[in-house]
């Protein structure tokens, strides 16, 4: 397929960029518009939290360009019930109908609960949400999510915030091969090379936060990730060469001086 015709439509919206970014961990939320501009990203995640009446904190939404697609997450939810409650609150707050279902009860590795995620996805999809569930790359869970009405499946490359890359690469490859929905690699992507790797495999998009937010030069890193995701996608569309162990000469094997 020509990259000019390569359309990515999610939740009824055509997206030009296949990089989704987070809005957390920035030294100053006022950086967010520039991060968005440098990365080219059109989708950005936000979280919902109780107000701390003792400290004045901004509403992060005021820093997010209006043209961007908000993707509220359900972080903090430990059960399907809690995730559904957060999703409904996000929608009531005017954040639209996209939701990243993130259900975690494991405090050390922050690994998602697939069973609760499927339950929440089924209910929220029926309510009209565009549900993007965050999961460990498990084929059976992913198949259940397709049946539950998810709009995409978001497997982790490595635990959240670790920057360790695609430690689950083989399992993600299976999802890309077997699941009809877009596969968006979420969590663990720490370097542009990791994003390229995911996109070359045929991932539909990458979602990352820490890798940009924790860079000493986040604007430059945002740009690097935008380019990496685009390059990886182009390589996937072009078709990668065959991986083989025996050498194949690039130059002609005739007309040598010693012949």
């Amino acid at each position: 397929m020509d990259s000019q015709e390569d359309k990515f439509i999610l939740g009824g919206r055509e997206l030009k960029s296949r990089l989704f970014i987070g809005s957390g961990k920035y030294s100053d939320d006022r950086l967010i518009p520039s991060i968005a501009e440098h990365s080219g990203a059109e989708v950005i995640t936000v979280a919902l939290r109780r107000i701390d009446f003792e400290s004045k904190t901004d509403n992060v939404l005021i820093h997010i360009p209006e043209t961007m697609q908000l993707l509220p997450n359900t972080s903090g939810a430990r059960t399907a019930e809690e995730a559904i409650r957060l999703a409904r609150l996000s929608k009531a707050a005017g954040c639209g109908n996209w939701i990243k279902v993130e259900i975690i009860s494991d405090a050390k590795y922050l690994l998602p609960d697939g069973y609760e995620t499927v339950k929440a996805t089924e209910i929220l999809a029926k309510e009209g949400f565009v549900v993007l569930p965050y999961i460990s790359p498990d084929l059976m869970v992913a198949r259940s999510l397709v049946d539950a009405g998810a709009s995409a499946v978001m497997p982790l490359g490595a635990p959240i915030g670790t920057n360790r890359g695609l430690k689950t690469k083989e399992l993600i490859r299976i999802l890309i091969e077997e699941i009809s929905l877009p596969i968006i690699v979420d969590a663990g992507i720490g370097a542009p090379s990791h994003a390229v790797e995911a996109m070359e495999m045929g991932a539909a998009a990458c979602l990352l936060n820490t890798a940009i937010a924790s860079s000493p030069q986040p604007l430059v890193m945002a740009e690097a990730f935008g380019q990496a995701v685009a390059a990886g996608r182009k390589a996937f569309l072009a078709g990668l060469g065959v991986d083989q162990t025996i050498a194949q000469a690039s130059s002609p094997l005739t007309g040598f001086l010693h012949e």
Binding site: G24, I51, N59, L61
Partner: protein
């Protein structure tokens, strides 16, 4: 005056009777257009806040959007 006890974001607080939910939130100096309010686990729209008179053991959650991944 008899005080009533309600839970606000998980913490028990004491209030004067017949305070509305809107009045309570305004005492916290909140911009009400930038928060999401739950009253006894039901989402409350901005224009409904003034009509809710708080009563004993009510539970109120006030949330806002923050940066997240």
């Amino acid at each position: 005056m008899r005080l009533l006890k309600v839970k606000l974001n998980g913490a028990e607080i004491s209030l004067a009777s017949s305070l509305t939910l809107e009045q309570l939130l305004l005492t916290k100096k909140l911009e009400l257009d930038c928060v999401v309010v739950e009253y006894n686990e039901k989402i409350v729209k901005r224009n409904e806040l003034a009509a809710i008179i708080l009563k004993e053991r009510d539970e109120i959650e006030v949330l806002r959007f923050v940066g997240g991944g």
